[in-house]
């Protein structure tokens, strides 16, 4: 691991387009400013660990909820239909035609990200 000593307001570069600056040092806390292209994701390491833990909690679930999410008016909640894991309503590829319950067609979005 590369270790660099930096003072207040000093910076380091990671590659050509990621800049990390020491914005504030106060007691045992350091504030860092990070400038990076939109495409580079920056997150605290704890986020990664939290998602790992959440996945483990999700895998521990015993069953699918018995709750009807669409309590009314959902034409396609045929409760009595047999389990249909093989997806006769359409293979995975065609599932986008099912309307309400179809997996999201993702939307490219732009969002402002403030990092400093």
């Amino acid at each position: 691991m590369l270790i660099l000593a930096r003072k207040h307001n000093e910076k380091i570069m990671i590659g050509d387009d990621v800049e990390v600056s020491v914005v504030e040092i106060k007691g045992d806390q350091v504030k860092l400013g990070i400038s990076a292209p939109r495409d580079v994701k920056v997150y605290r390491a704890e986020v990664y660990e939290a998602i790992q833990e959440e996945n483990r909690a999700a895998a521990a679930a015993r069953a699918i909820p018995e709750i009807e999410i669409f309590s009314q008016g959902s034409s396609d909640s045929s409760e009595e239909s047999p389990p249909n894991p093989a997806g006769e309503r359409g293979s995975f590829e065609s599932s986008s035609e099912k309307g309400k319950t179809s997996p999201a067609d993702s939307r490219g979005t732009t969002q402002s990200r403030s990092r400093e």
Binding site: D39, I51, N55, P85, S91, A104, R107, Q111
Partner: protein, 150 residues
């Protein structure tokens, strides 16, 4: 048609097109790389069943069902990992966590799954948008949606 062992439904036959590769696994489950995407008994839930470990399965939901304002936040790296050129090629799911009181079930919008629908390759991504957290209570947000709609 291959038949597989599932956590929820015993042995079931699936179509090969339901098999999804997750080359990097999921966070915390890096060893598991092959899954089948199944319809559950109960729409709008889906099941992501590990083919390598029948006891491991995840309940999934399309985030748009309860958060129509959901926005995906993927990088070039994410797209490349699933062999997609554009977000339009992706399916998006949130993993659902179901506690003992299932009315409190939550969906993880911070770590969504994206799947290239043609190549059937998936990846768990991390959203850096602070609007999307680890635990969105699905029923609560649906309720809010209904209230606002009127």
């Amino acid at each position: 048609m291959p038949s597989i062992q599932t956590k929820q439904y015993g042995t079931v036959e699936i179509d090969e097109r339901q098999i999804i590769d997750f080359p990097a696994g999921l966070f915390g489950f890096e060893r598991l790389c092959r899954f089948a995407l199944l319809d559950s008994h109960r729409p709008p839930f889906y099941i992501l069943q590990s083919l390598e470990e029948p006891a491991t399965a995840f309940v999934l939901i399309d985030p748009m069902v309860f958060r129509p304002d959901y926005t995906l936040d993927v990088t070039e790296e994410d797209l490349e990992a699933v062999g997609a050129e554009d977000v339009q090629e992706l399916l998006v799911f949130a993993i659902v966590t179901i506690p003992d009181d299932e009315r409190l079930m939550t969906a993880n919008l911070q770590g969504p799954l994206v799947i290239n629908r043609k190549r059937r390759v998936g990846r768990q991504t991390i959203s850096t948008n602070p609007s999307w957290g680890l635990r969105h209570t699905i029923l609560e947000e649906l309720e809010r949606l209904r209230t606002n709609a009127c």
